[in-house]
Each structure stands twice: as structure tokens, then as C-alpha cells.
């Protein structure tokens, strides 16, 4: 057993172990927060180590570990990472660290449970991104729900009861459909190992997975849980929900739904493309009409999920590369924006745009952060979002030019809603809810958001870091359509239609 093979397991166990430690450590609340912050930074450190040891030219599964869990149904602890999973894990580590430290900075009540849940949640998310066994994947997928339920329900706003109820109803329905699909799929093939499961052409199984992922993403018309959950959560939990959890759904499409059911995915691509287009346009319009800052960010995530799904179902190299890049971009952008929304709400005790305004004057750091993040999120040229969205549009253009038109309209709408929100918060007359004494961003808050923004700036300088290194040696399409299994001696491409 080398260090490499343990690295993925370590990435899962560090936050989980940290959660246990926080839950039982006999320390006062403030120290629990610092312990959790330390764990989340250690996690980032391990991710950097993993990225350093990763062979980006190699398309096969790396840093993998395999151990039997129960043998009679062929279920195992099998974890490992592809290049694109590595980026998603990195994004998770960074965003979760920012959110955990933000929670520490604002001094959440009942810190023991709060920080234990945050760490447990990060471990579960990393588990989802790295699990290579369907049942293990499902276990992590479900495990994410437990901390989220409590994080929203205990630390949420006044409407939290309703928010948790809708959130749970949607998620449980989706995940149990997926469980049924997993049971049938895995038992039929006598293995649950994603690296060994053959491709299938069953529409029912495909839909079982896709609905679960579409709820998580979310995609129109499965987004009913989104408004309550994002508005009622504490801001850092909204950041996690929109930044990271939504990527779990998109990752599921990329890792399971498309590679394992390529021909069905191909047949159903128009349905998915239409739903993605509706999500994009409808989400953008809702964001434009949203009365509060969080509303804008939240509906923009619905729109962005739509855009990423457009990229995934473009079924070509550009689309897949762009989708992975855009997942990371949007995670960083929306996490930063939700945290900024939280900071604004702390100062004005409201997020309503009509009560806000004029916050730029005398608050240069806040203005700079909001403006930079907002500009990146609306995909201004030279930003990393521009690179991601451009790749997606170029990819989906090859399907049909009409999809690219939809995408372009979405990008125009993004400029409209984002500039409206920025202007309503920072510029115009000083809002009635903005006190003169409202402080600029404090050092602690800056330390949380600045790394996210710096990551975005760095990616803007070199988006190819992700888009060019997401699928090993390139050829994303052929890798995804051959099932992302890469047996030894893998030679290449089997055209669509000839697979089972």
C-alpha cells in the first residue's frame, strides 16, 4: 500500500475524523471552531498533495483504493479519482474551508454540532466525487442529506421548517428512485463496481438516475425545493448548497448517467437539452425579477445548472471540458456571492434590493469583492466563466445552432440580472436599511472570500488548467462514451450505437 492509494481515502477520512473529534473534544465553543477550520485547511493541503501526485496525461482512475465491503453482493470500498473528479474535490475542499471558517468567524451558536456537521458534510461530498462503487456512491449521496437537514433546520431563518420539509421531500424521492435503479442495475450485472459495470440501454434505469441528479442540480422542473432552502439557510450553507451540492447532481450525470447509458442518453438528449434551456432562460428571468440579493444568486445557479447540462449533453469534447470548467467556476462564484450576501445581510439585516443601495461609498473592499465576483459570474471576456461558457456554447453549437442561441441569450440575461443586483447593492442612493455605521469587509471576512476570488482570478488567467486537464489526454467524448472504465490495454473509441 503506497501513500498514493491512501490519498483519496485520506481526503474522505480527514473531515469525517475531524467531525468526530469536534463532536467529542472537551473544548469551549471558540476552540471547536478553530479545530474545524484547521481540519478544513488540512483537507485543502491534502488535496494539493493529491494534485501534485496526479498524472494528468493518464485518463485512467488514479489514487485508487479497493477493499471488499461485503462480498456476496460484490460491494466494495472502491475510491479513486479521474482528472475531473480531482478538480471537483479541490473545489469542494476550498469552498468547504471558506464556509467552515466563515461559520467560525460569525460565531454560530451550538458550535459543537454545527462544526461536526459541516465537516461531516465535506467528507460525504468528497466521498460522492470519488466513490467508484455504486452503493458506496449512494451511501455518500444520502449521507449528505443528514447534515444539510439539520444545518438548515437548526440554524436557518424563520421559514426553516417549510424549507427543510420541501428539501427533504424532493431529495428523498430522487435518491430512493436512484436506490431502486442501483439495486436493479447492480444485481443484474453481479457487481456494483463502477469500473466494471457494463453499459446498459435501459430507459428506466437511466431515468431513475437522471431524476435524482436533476433534483440535486437542480434542473427545471425539479427545482421546487430551491427557493426556500437557499433563502432560509444560513449564508454559508446556501453557499455550500449552490456551490458544491448542486455539482453533485451534475457530476452524477457525467460519471454515471451518460457513461453507463450512452445510447439512452443519446436518445433522450433533446429532452435534457430542452429542460436545460428552460432552466437557463427561466432561471435568468427569475433572477432578474428577484427582490433580494440571495434570490438573484440562487436563481442564477438554476440558470448555470442549465448551462452546464447543455454542455454535458452536447456530447463532444468541447462540451464536456467546458462543463467541468464551468462547474468549478460556478462553485467558486456562487460560494463567494452567497458569503458576500451574508456579509451584506449582517450589516443591514436584510437582503432586499429596494432597501439596499449606495454601499460602495466608504466601503472599497466590499465594493471591489462584489464587483469582481459579479463581473466574473456574468462571463465578461477574459474571465474564467467566459472561457467555460464559450466552450459550452461552442460544443452545443455542434449539436444544433439553436441551442447555442439559447445559451447566448442566457449569457445576455446573466449580464442584465447581475448588473442590476450589483448596482442595487453598491450604487444608487443609500438604501433605507443601510446604516451609516455599516462597516467595510473586516479582515476575517476578507480572509474567507479573498481566496475564492483569487482562485477565480488565477483561473481567468489560465482556464486551460482545468479545461485542458479534465479528461487526461483529451478526447473527453470518447472517454465518457466508453463508460469511463479504462481497462488495462484500453485502446480507444467505440462509436455510438455499437455499444450494448
Amino acid at each position: 500500500m503506497t501513500f498514493d492509494s491512501w490519498l483519496t481515502t485520506i481526503l474522505i477520512l480527514v473531515p469525517m475524523g475531524g467531525a468526530l473529534l469536534v463532536a467529542i473534544a472537551p473544548l469551549p465553543g471558540y476552540w471547536l471552531g478553530s479545530l474545524a477550520a484547521l481540519c478544513s485547511l488540512v483537507e485543502v493541503g491534502f488535496w494539493i498533495t493529491a494534485a501534485g501526485r496526479f498524472q494528468f496525461g493518464d485518463p485512467s482512475l488514479q489514487l485508487a483504493q479497493h477493499a471488499s465491503w461485503f462480498s456476496d453482493l460484490h460491494v466494495s470500498w472502491h475510491v479513486g479519482q479521474f482528472a475531473f473528479s480531482l478538480w471537483l474535490v479541490g473545489m469542494t475542499a476550498v469552498v468547504m474551508a471558506a464556509c467552515t471558517i466563515y461559520g467560525w468567524w460569525v460565531g454560530r451558536t451550538r458550535p459543537r454540532l454545527y462544526f461536526a456537521l459541516m465537516l461531516f458534510l465535506s467528507g460525504a461530498i468528497v466521498g460522492v466525487f470519488t466513490a467508484q462503487d455504486l452503493l458506496l456512491f449512494y451511501a455518500f449521496f444520502e449521507a449528505m442529506l443528514i447534515p444539510l437537514y439539520l444545518l438548515i433546520g437548526v440554524w436557518g431563518g424563520a421559514g426553516r421548517m417549510r424549507a427543510t420539509l420541501t428539501f427533504v421531500v424532493y431529495t428523498v424521492v430522487g435518491s430512493l428512485l436512484m436506490l431502486a435503479a442501483i439495486v436493479v442495475y447492480g444485481l443484474h450485472e453481479h457487481t456494483f463496481d463502477l469500473m466494471q459495470l457494463p453499459q446498459r440501454s435501459s430507459t428506466w434505469l437511466f431515468l431513475g438516475f437522471v431524476i435524482a441528479f436533476a433534483i440535486k442540480a437542480p434542473l427545471f422542473p425539479f427545482h421546487g425545493w430551491l427557493p426556500d432552502a437557499y433563502r432560509e439557510s444560513p449564508p454559508e450553507v446556501s453557499a455550500v448548497l449552490s456551490g458544491v451540492i448542486s455539482k453533485v447532481g451534475l457530476y452524477g450525470l457525467l460519471r454515471i448517467a451518460i457513461p453507463k447509458f450512452p445510447s439512452v442518453a443519446h436518445d433522450w438528449r433533446y429532452v435534457l437539452l430542452v429542460l436545460a434551456s428552460i432552466s437557463l432562460i427561466y432561471g435568468s428571468l427569475l433572477a432578474f425579477r428577484a427582490p433580494d440579493f440571495r434570490g438573484v444568486v440562487m436563481y442564477s445557479s438554476l440558470a448555470q445548472s442549465g448551462l452546464i447540462v447543455l454542455g454535458l449533453f452536447a456530447f463532444n469534447d468541447l462540451g464536456f471540458d467546458g462543463a467541468v470548467l464551468q462547474m468549478v467556476n460556478h462553485a467558486l462564484v456562487s460560494a463567494a456571492l452567497f458569503l458576500l450576501a451574508g456579509m451584506i445581510e449582517r450589516r443591514t439585516s436584510t437582503g432586499e434590493l429596494r432597501l439596499l443601495g449606495g454601499m460602495a461609498r466608504g466601503r472599497p473592499i466590499l465594493a471591489t469583492l462584489v464587483l469582481t465576483t459579479g463581473i466574473i459570474s456574468l462571463a465578461v471576456p477574459l474571465s474564467t466563466s467566459f472561457a467555460g461558457e464559450f466552450l459550452i456554447l461552442a460544443g452545443v453549437f455542434q449539436q444544433h445552432w439553436a441551442w447555442a442561441v439559447v445559451g447566448a441569450v442566457g449569457i445576455v440575461l446573466a449580464a442584465m440580472y447581475m448588473l442590476r443586483a450589483i448596482s442595487a447593492v453598491l450604487h444608487q442612493d443609500v438604501g433605507s436599511a443601510v446604516p451609516e455605521t455599516a462597516l467595510d469587509v473586516r479582515a476575517g471576512e476578507l480572509a474567507v472570500v479573498a481566496p475564492l476570488v483569487l482562485c477565480l482570478v488565477a483561473l481567468s488567467a489560465w482556464p486551460n488548467l482545468i479545461s485542458g486537464h479534465a479528461f487526461g489526454a483529451g478526447h473527453a467524448r470518447q472517454q465518457v462514451e466508453t463508460g469511463l472504465t479504462f481497462p488495462v490495454g484500453w485502446t480507444g473509441y467505440v462509436p455510438l450505437g455499437t455499444t450494448k
Binding site: 451511501a139 442529506l145 443528514i146 427533504v168 428512485l177 436493479v184 444485481l187
Partner: protein, 488 residues
């Protein structure tokens, strides 16, 4: 001179150990001075169950080959021994939960005597290999439970619950007895193997007998539509008794159901398979829908136990090796979760002095963090969430159903699980999301009693619930060895 058969006393060691404990407890009731009587009684009861637990494990290890004893009236095999391990373990935890009970201090020794006697009956019942011993075992533990349900006469509803359980239970026993008589009348045999050998399919009298036996056993496993007594009896009985009924009775009834059906009625397999599948669906539907509207936590858990009977009956309906394995595995986390959940209810009950409802659970999770987290784990386990054995249990049950081609049972199970999320998470919500301010009923003052013994019991349940998620392989190996005994 009647020739006595050779008796393998070791095979009967678990019931005998519990009977011995029961006898000792009756002496404790008389001879030990009042001051130390409660402690001595609890210790004796606990020791009895632990002894039976150890004996059952040794029996499981030393019985690699199934055999019948005493003129084919008892089985000595791993299927029974594993069930005995679970029953004795449940009993031991139930004793830990009973220690802090305040009621009728002078009758505590008799209470434990009844508990161990009922446990002895159950461990005897699971070894039964003929209709005669089957009925004997059933009545043996049932009578103990009737009295236990009504033992706290000061508790409102306890007598009513006891009477209801007695009447309905007696109907169940009578049904089982009548069914046995029909089967005996048709085949002329009492032992399961010989009934299986003598019977043949589509024999009206045999089928009626089979139906009545299924009904009689379903009364005990509280599967719908034979569940009517369950909510009232669970609610009215003292909570430790409820916990014992919810775990041990269900273990015994389901394990025996699987054995009787597969051994004695192989010819009518497709018939009882569909019947059990129907009962499973009814239980899942009724249990979950019934639980949705309840406010009393014990009643919610009672309906939840009905729905879990449904889940485990899916494994029976599958009637294959995987199903038998699934049942034996599922019972392990299920027993732990039931005991643990009722233990937490008992703790809250003692603190408040009134029945526990969703509204007076408010703030419980913050006041007593360990019990709160434990209760939360048990609820997620019932719901079948990962990091608890409930997840693997449901997965195995679905796998068994799929293996037989009953894929529609998976659909029913999945829908039932969706519905159940509402009330299981409702309990978590009641404990954590509401503040103490919402609590209209204040505890009588001072910090809540510490109840170390009860917490230890909850700790054991927690370890089993979570541990069975990680240690699937050894548990499944044990369940597999047990399942091989059945002719499936």
C-alpha cells in the same frame, strides 16, 4: 416403564439458563431484603440474559450441521441459535432499560422473573420443529408478555393495553392452534419435515391450515391486517416492556415464520409466497400511513414496527437464500434501533412524568446531547440511511426481492420509505428544531436524572446500529451460515 428419549441439554441451554434466572428471581423476591432487592433482581435478570447470550453463541459455533432432537420436536441449528443470540441480547438491553423504572419497587423481582420467562419462551419457540412445540413456545412467551404489558397498574392505559393484547393474542393463538389441527388432520404428522414430506400441493384442508398458521404467526409479528393490538399495547405497556416486545417478539415470530413456511410447506411455496407478499404490502401501507398522523412517540414507533414487519416479510416472500440471509441480518440493526429508540422515550418519560409526544420532545436534543444524537441515529436507521445497519438491511431485502423477480416489491418498499421519511425526520425535527420555549410542560426542576445504566443500554444499541453498517461481512457470514439450514 416409559422409555425416555435422549435429551441434548446443551441445545436447550439458552431457555434453561433463562428459566433458571427466572426461578432465582422468584427467590430473590422472597428472600432478599427490600433495600437491595431491586438491584439484586436487575442483576440476576441481566446475568440470566447474558448467560443465555453466551450459550447461544457457543451453540451457534458448535452446531455446524442441523439436527433434530427429542423425537423431532426441536431443532439444533444455526438458524435458531442466531435468533437466540439476538433475543437474549435484546433481553439483556431491555433489563438495562428497566433498571431506572420507578413503579412498584416491591414487584421488581417478579417483573424480571416474567421478563426472563418470556425470553426463555422465545428462545424455546425459535428452536421448535413440530407444531406442538411451536404452540407451546408461543403460549409460553405470550402469557409472560400479557402480564408484563399490564404490570404497571398505576399507568393509565396499561390494563387496557394488557386486556387488548390478551384478547387479540388469544385469538391469534387459537387461530394458530386450529390451523395446526387441520394440518395434523391432513398429514398425520406434527414435525415440520414430515409435514413437508407428507403434504402435497393444492390440498384444500392443508391450505386452510397453512393460512391459519400464517395468520397466527402474523399476529405475533404484528403484520397488517393482524396488527390491531400493536399501537395500543405498545403505548400502554411500560416502555421497557414495549422495547422488548418490539425487538424480541418480532425476531422470534419472523424467524419462525420463515422456518415453518419453508420447511413444512414447500409444495405450496408459490401460494404462501404471494400471501406473504400481500401481507408485506399491507403492513408497509398501513404502518406508514398510520404513523403519519400520530403525535405520541410510542404510537409512532408502534406503527413504524408494523411497517418494518412489512420490510422483513419482503425477505420472507422472496423465499430464497438471499432472503433468509437478509432477514437474519436485518433483525440485528432493527432490534438495536427499536430497543434504543424506546430507551430514549423511556428516559424522556421518566424526566417529564407524562407520555412523550412530539411536542414535549422539543429541545430534548440540546438538553441531553448523547441521547439526542442516539435517537437521531436510530430514526435515520429506521429510515434506511447510510452509516446505520438499516441501510444495508433494506438493501439486502430489496436484493432478495429482485433475486426472485419480485421487482414490484422493491417499488412498494421504496414508496413506503419515502412516506416514512416524514415521521422519522419529524421526530428529529421535534428534538432539534424547536426551542425549549415551545415546550409548554416544564420538567419538575433540577437537571434530568443521569441514568447511567440506561445510557449504557443506548450506547450498546448505538454501537450495534452503526457497527452493523461497517462490519457487514462478518454479520452476513453468520446470517449465511444460518440461512443454509433452511431448505430453500
Amino acid at each position: 416403564m416409559i422409555s425416555t428419549p435422549h435429551v441434548d441439554w446443551f441445545a436447550l441451554s439458552a431457555p434453561l439458563a433463562l428459566l433458571a434466572a427466572s426461578g432465582l428471581l422468584l427467590m430473590v423476591a422472597v428472600f432478599v431484603p427490600r433495600r437491595g432487592r431491586t438491584a439484586a433482581a436487575a442483576f440476576t435478570g441481566f446475568a440470566g440474559f447474558v448467560t443465555a447470550f453466551v450459550f447461544a453463541i457457543v451453540l451457534a459455533v458448535k452446531s455446524p450441521h442441523a439436527q433434530t432432537l427429542i423425537h423431532d420436536t426441536m431443532f439444533r441449528d444455526r438458524w435458531a441459535a442466531l435468533a437466540q443470540v439476538l433475543i437474549a441480547g435484546s433481553g439483556a438491553v431491555a433489563v438495562l432499560l428497566s433498571v431506572g423504572e420507578r413503579w412498584s419497587e416491591e414487584h421488581m423481582a417478579e417483573y424480571y422473573a416474567l421478563l426472563t420467562a418470556a425470553g426463555a419462551g422465545m428462545t424455546f419457540f425459535v428452536e421448535a420443529s413440530s407444531l406442538l412445540t411451536l404452540f407451546l413456545g408461543l403460549e409460553w412467551f405470550s402469557i409472560g408478555l400479557y402480564v408484563l404489558t399490564a404490570i404497571d397498574i398505576d399507568l393509565i392505559g396499561s390494563l387496557e393495553a394488557g386486556l387488548k393484547y390478551l384478547v387479540v393474542g388469544a385469538v391469534g393463538s387459537a387461530t394458530l392452534l386450529f390451523g395446526s389441527a387441520l394440518v395434523y388432520g391432513r398429514t398425520g404428522q406434527l414435525s415440520f419435515d414430515r409435514i413437508g414430506a407428507a403434504g402435497h400441493g393444492h390440498d384444500a384442508m392443508l391450505v386452510v391450515g397453512l393460512a391459519m398458521i400464517i395468520a397466527g404467526l402474523a399476529f405475533k409479528s404484528s403484520a397488517a391486517p393482524f396488527h390491531m393490538w400493536t399501537p395500543d399495547a405498545y403505548q400502554g405497556a411500560p416502555t421497557p416492556v414495549t422495547s422488548f416486545m418490539a425487538s424480541a417478539t418480532k425476531i422470534a415470530a419472523l424467524v419462525v415464520t420463515y422456518r415453518v413456511l419453508s420447511t413444512a410447506f414447500p409444495h405450496d411455496q408459490s401460494l404462501w409466497r404471494w400471501t406473504i407478499a400481500g401481507i408485506a404490502c399491507a403492513s408497509l401501507a398501513w404502518g406508514n400511513i398510520g404513523a403519519l398522523v400520530q403525535r405520541n412517540v410510542k404510537r409512532i414507533l408502534a406503527y413504524s414496527s408494523i411497517s418494518h414487519a412489512g420490510f422483513m416479510l419482503i425477505a420472507v416472500a422472496a423465499a430464497n437464500q438471499l432472503g433468509a440471509r437478509a432477514l437474519q441480518y436485518y433483525l440485528i440493526p432493527y432490534a438495536a434501533m427499536s430497543l434504543g429508540a424506546f430507551a430514549v422515550v423511556a428516559a424522556r418519560e421518566r424526566e417529564l412524568g407524562v407520555p412523550v409526544t412530539l411536542s414535549n420532545l422539543a429541545g430534548f436534543g440540546w438538553e441531553r446531547p448523547f441521547l439526542g444524537v442516539a435517537m437521531w441515529t436510530f430514526m435515520l436507521g429506521f429510515l434506511g440511511f447510510p452509516l446505520t445497519g438499516g441501510f444495508i438491511g433494506k438493501f439486502y431485502v430489496f436484493a432478495a426481492a429482485y433475486d426472485h423477480g419480485f421487482w414490484w416489491l422493491i417499488v412498494v418498499g421504496v414508496v413506503a420509505t419515502m412516506v416514512s421519511a416524514y415521521y422519522y425526520l419529524g421526530i428529529v425535527r421535534a428534538m432539534y428544531f424547536r426551542e425549549r420555549a415551545d415546550l409548554t410542560l416544564a420538567p419538575s426542576g433540577g437537571s434530568p436524572p443521569r441514568e447511567l445504566v440506561l445510557s449504557a443500554g443506548v450506547g450498546i444499541c448505538l454501537v450495534v446500529t452503526v457497527g452493523s453498517f461497517f462490519a457487514v461481512q462478518p454479520l452476513i457470514d453468520a446470517a449465511k451460515a444460518a440461512a443454509h439450514v433452511l431448505p430453500l
